[in-house]
């Protein structure tokens, strides 16, 4: 099936008529009607309100300790001396919640930050690199790499061995990626400014690929209230088409037996399960189970559309359930 045929087949994903209940909740929490109707179809009435309520509160700040440059216990002590109270997150090897901050300096301006000892990063957004689990011999592709949180984390997990090819097409955003790579003492990255689609012209094959796809950011509403009314259903369809195109390229650049991790900071099934489902339907792709995180299973049905059963192995994070940003992670193995 071509990408175009797949997109047409799943066009019903984008037919949403808001119910009275959805309209009423949308007014109450200042969301677009169609968004709330989708949440009801994902979570049911009661949980939808719990979710909408949780979006009114900003998330706790969190950091990833960069043990390429500092022992994490030492970082805790250094930060404590400056008035930052860090609490280790049990399910993230390098993740900390910042429980208390001083008035000065800000978390993003300490000498420790500038020295690359930590990266300010959402908790759920640390998960994809752990799920990818790169080894010191791997050749890894990071397909939409800026601003570099996940690229630098991948290098950290590889102990600066092997090789990471980090791709970013935006001239603006690659500056922050370059800066973060250098700040965090990362040594094993080849940085490329291009559209990942161009790589398909090469004969390159990667052991592991991270596609943290450009998305609507529907999981970041607690951090950015403007997203309650920002994304239209047409925008969502545009993201879906572009994500299917990107995951198709990612799969083609993966060696047989290789691992692809697909993630988004969105809870939209249109940007998540519906995208991964394209690989399962069209290729010999196998969804792998992920465990050890305070997440819920991926959806196998949405808006009357059935996805492959194995999509339940993907994981979803919600602010009201996990205390994190909304996020989606899926681990896919390419058939031999």
């Amino acid at each position: 099936m071509t990408i175009e045929e797949y997109i047409n087949k799943y066009n019903k994903l984008f037919s949403i008529s808001p119910s009275l209940k959805a309209i009423s909740l949308a007014r109450k929490y200042n969301f677009l009607d169609y968004m709330v109707e989708r949440y009801i179809r994902i979570m049911g009435d009661n949980e939808t309100e719990e979710f909408l309520y949780s979006c009114s509160f900003p998330l706790k700040k969190s950091i990833r300790c960069n043990d390429l440059l500092i022992d994490c216990k030492k970082l805790e002590e250094k930060m404590a001396r400056k008035g930052f109270e860090l609490e280790k997150v049990p399910w993230l090897k390098h993740g900390y919640i910042v429980k208390k901050l001083p008035k000065k300096p800000s978390l993003g301006a300490t000498i420790e930050y500038l020295s690359g000892y930590y990266y300010i990063q959402g908790l759920a957004s640390m998960v994809p690199a752990y799920v990818l689990n790169p080894s010191e011999n791997d050749i890894v592709l990071d397909m939409a790499a800026a601003p570099g949180g996940k690229t630098t984390q991948i290098s950290q997990l590889m102990r600066n061995k092997g090789l990471v090819v980090a791709v970013e097409k935006s001239r603006e955003r690659i500056r922050s990626l370059y800066s973060n790579i250098n700040r965090l003492g990362v040594k094993n990255v080849v940085l490329l400014r291009t559209d990942s689609r161009n790589l398909i012209k090469s004969k390159l094959q990667f052991d592991k690929i991270l596609l943290d796809a450009p998305c609507s950011g529907e999981g970041l509403i607690p951090e950015d209230p403007s997203r309650r009314t920002k994304t239209t259903i047409e925008d969502l369809k545009y993201f879906f088409m572009s994500q299917v195109e990107l995951i198709d390229i990612a799969y083609k650049l993966l060696r047989p037996g290789g691992i692809l991790v697909y993630s988004t900071c969105s809870i939209a099934p249109e940007e998540d399960e519906a995208v991964v489902n394209y690989l399962v339907e069209n290729f010999n792709a196998k969804i792998m189970p992920i465990s050890g995180y305070p997440s819920v299973s991926g959806l196998t049905e949405y808006n009357g559309i059935k996805f492959d059963d194995s999509l339940r192995y993907c994981i979803r994070f919600y602010p009201h359930k996990s205390g994190t940003e909304g996020f989606f992670v899926c681990k896919i193995m390419k058939g031999e």
């Binding site: 000498i111 050749i139 973060n180 080849v190 291009t194 004969k203």
Partner: protein, 175 residues
């Protein structure tokens, strides 16, 4: 610390090629002449209006990947760590990632209290009462963190430390 992507040319260098640039910096900061840190690295020069020297750990597939990218008309934006900037007039300057190697090799170091070190991270000079010989120094804080490449000047009875490139660059220019 800028990158000169565009019609950039990328050349692989040998240890012999790069020695002249590194030794200039070693001399400036009074460093032990030890190039061991380059033993396990590939060395590249990226050149356009100015040049940067960049180093990356050797791996089997590195050159294969760079060649594959070139074959489809793509040049890397950067490779590993950029360590040296060579300006059009031939000036040679260390870049921030190089500091992680230089602090282990160089003797010209000044340790400052954290409050003064913070001022340098805004790209601003600091004045000390102590007499320090003029020259180029690695400026550190009391916790042994590298803060800046600095120039020391004597002014009347005081010492002025002028940051040439400081870690605040990451916030000001890095985005």
């Amino acid at each position: 610390m800028q990158n000169n992507e565009g019609r950039v040319t990328i050349t692989r260098l040998t240890l012999k090629d790069v020695r002249i640039y590194i030794e200039k910096i070693f001399k400036l900061y009074n460093c032990e002449n030890n190039l061991d840190f380059l033993n396990d690295k590939e060395i590249y020069m990226f050149s356009f209006h100015f040049s940067t020297i960049q180093i990356i750990p050797k791996t089997n597939k590195l050159n294969e990947i760079i060649d594959a990218l070139r074959s489809i008309g793509l040049n890397p934006y950067s490779v590993g760590e950029p360590i040296i900037l060579i300006s059009e007039n031939g000036d040679v300057k260390p870049l921030l990632p190089f500091s992680r190697y230089l602090v282990k090799l160089c003797k010209n170091k000044i340790y400052l209290p954290e409050k003064l070190a913070e001022i340098l991270t805004y790209g601003k000079p600091v004045i000390l009462k102590e007499a320090i010989e003029e020259g180029a120094y690695l400026i550190m804080d009391k916790n042994d963190n590298f803060i800046a490449y600095g120039i020391v000047k004597r002014e009347k009875n005081k010492t002025k430390i002028i940051p040439e490139l400081d870690i605040g660059w990451y916030l000001r220019e890095g985005g």
